[in-house]
């Protein structure tokens, strides 16, 4: 369970305050796959990074499994982060480590005894279908394989929540789908809560049970994907484009 209350984020840029995120409330229930949809700069990545406090919120409260994250002291914050996996658009693997050692990184951080690290890392790599590539370095792997290693790294410590920051945006469509299938499978088999940031409605329709639409730091839509009824222009635009692009597709920026 992730509960955000009046969470906001304001940056100072050259003495000018910029609202990356206006105060918003959001509940993500356990086991749910939740999408944060919007264009670049809408604040969706900022919102995701607030959950494990990679960004410090400017105000509000963030509770993860009942525990308040805001103001958590450093040591406890680190322990909390070990229970929240995260994957990124650019995979962010350590280039000087093999696939297996990349997975072991999160286990080292979590203080798993050395003797247990190897078998646990192997198990995680097997779960993402890369058991045979454990000695490969990231440079020797394809984009999809790198993201699988990153997922294995996030998975190894058995987190209950997985945060995905544009996890498939750097991948070609069929690789993206294979990664999304893997995420869906992890959600089903392990009951893992998944929060995914995307600008691609196809990702949201395939994977998410619910999603919100963000526009310029404001939440403009909160959509149940089983019965989608977007209320905002931007929300409608997203669902419109799901059918494909046409000359008649209304661009929300032009509309506004």
């Amino acid at each position: 369970m992730i509960e955000l209350k009046q969470v906001s984020k304001r940056f100072e840029m050259q003495g000018k305050a910029i609202d990356a995120l206006l105060p918003l409330d959001l509940d993500i229930t356990s086991g749910q796959v939740f999408g944060l949809l919007g264009f670049s700069g809408a604040g969706k990545s900022t919102l995701l990074r607030l959950i494990n406090r990679l960004e410090e919120p400017s105000g509000g409260s963030i509770r993860v499994d009942g525990q308040e994250v805001v103001g958590l002291p450093d040591a406890e914050l680190r322990r909390m982060r070990q229970r929240i996996g995260m994957i990124f658009q650019q995979f962010n693997l350590l280039s000087h480590r093999s696939a297996l050692h990349n997975v072991e990184f999160s286990l080292e951080v979590a203080g798993v005894p050395r003797a247990k690290q190897r078998p646990m890392a192997r198990e995680a790599l097997a779960a993402v279908g890369l058991a045979d590539r454990e000695d490969s370095f990231p440079a020797q792997l394809s984009g999809g394989q790198r993201q699988r290693v990153a997922i294995a790294r996030a998975l190894a410590t058995s987190p209950t929540i997985l945060l995905c920051d544009e996890a498939t945006s750097a991948l070609d469509p069929h690789t993206a789908l294979s990664i999304l299938r893997l995420l869906k499978q992890l959600n089903r088999e392990r009951g893992m809560t998944i929060v995914i940031v995307t600008h691609d409605i196809k990702v949201a329709t395939y994977l998410c049970e619910a999603c919100i639409v963000l526009e310029k730091g404001r939440m403009v839509d909160n959509i149940d994907m089983a019965n989608p009824r977007p209320a905002s222009l931007l929300g409608k635009f997203f669902f419109e484009t799901a059918k494909g692009w046409t000359d008649q597709t209304v661009l929300p920026q032009e509309d506004a």
Binding site: R79, L94, A110, F137
Partner: protein, 223 residues
């Protein structure tokens, strides 16, 4: 040609002694570059504006000290540090005294290079480490330094070759070494063959360092 080889045989012991002195100076200097220059580079990066733990005041003060040290013409630094050498190594002449001055020059120089190497580590892997819940130490050693190692070795190689040449300047204050020999024999006494041999040996040292550095960086670079 014969004169050249004759000079080599004749000056052999001197050349050998000078080579050893140069090696002592350069090795001691590069040891301080690693032991003190690397942590300085980490400090500069970590406390910097976009660093892991921004400490603007500390960063500025350390930055100023580094810049002041780097502004000194090396020959002035050599003279200024004579009393310091006497305290640290007990003498103000010879290779060990020169190594003190060379260290004062190399630490800020190498520190800046390491700082730049760390800056080139993609921000994303630092995010990754933080998201995993890594401590500051783990982030710095495994992620930052681990990812920057090939680049740091490159910086080390550039610094080492540069300071082989710098060590020759230290000859001017009686540090000994190949530069000293080249000046005293070759220049002051018009003994060109000895000067040529000094330069040849320096070339071999520089070339050897460059080769080893490139080889090590290549082996460790998995990108």
């Amino acid at each position: 040609m014969n004169a050249l080889f004759g000079a080599f045989v004749e000056a052999g012991p001197d050349l050998w002694k000078a080579t050893v002195e140069t090696l002592i100076m350069v090795c001691a200097t590069m040891a301080s570059a690693i032991v003190l220059g690397t942590p300085l580079g980490v400090l500069l990066f970590v406390t910097g504006r976009d660093g892991l733990y921004p400490r603007p005041m500390l960063n500025r003060v350390v930055g100023y000290i580094v810049n002041v040290l780097r502004s000194f013409p090396f020959i002035i630094l050599l003279v200024l540090l004579i009393p310091v050498s006497r305290v640290i190594v007990g003498t103000s002449i010879g290779p060990s005294a020169a190594a003190v001055a060379l260290s004062f020059a190399v630490i800020p120089y190498f520190g800046r290079l390491v700082e730049q190497n760390l800056r080139d580590v993609p921000r994303g892997v630092i995010d990754m480490a933080q998201a995993c819940g890594a401590s500051a130490g783990k982030t710095i050693f495994t992620v930052l330094i681990g990812e920057a190692i090939p680049a740091i070795i490159g910086s080390f190689t550039v610094t080492a070759t540069g300071f082989i040449a710098y060590s020759a300047v230290a000859g001017a204050v009686g540090a000994g070494g190949l530069g000293d020999l080249a000046i005293r024999y070759g220049y002051y006494r018009f003994n060109t063959p000895v000067m040529v041999w000094c330069v040849v040996i320096m070339f071999i040292l520089v070339q050897g360092t460059q080769f080893l550095g490139a080889w090590a960086a290549h082996r460790l670079d998995k990108r």
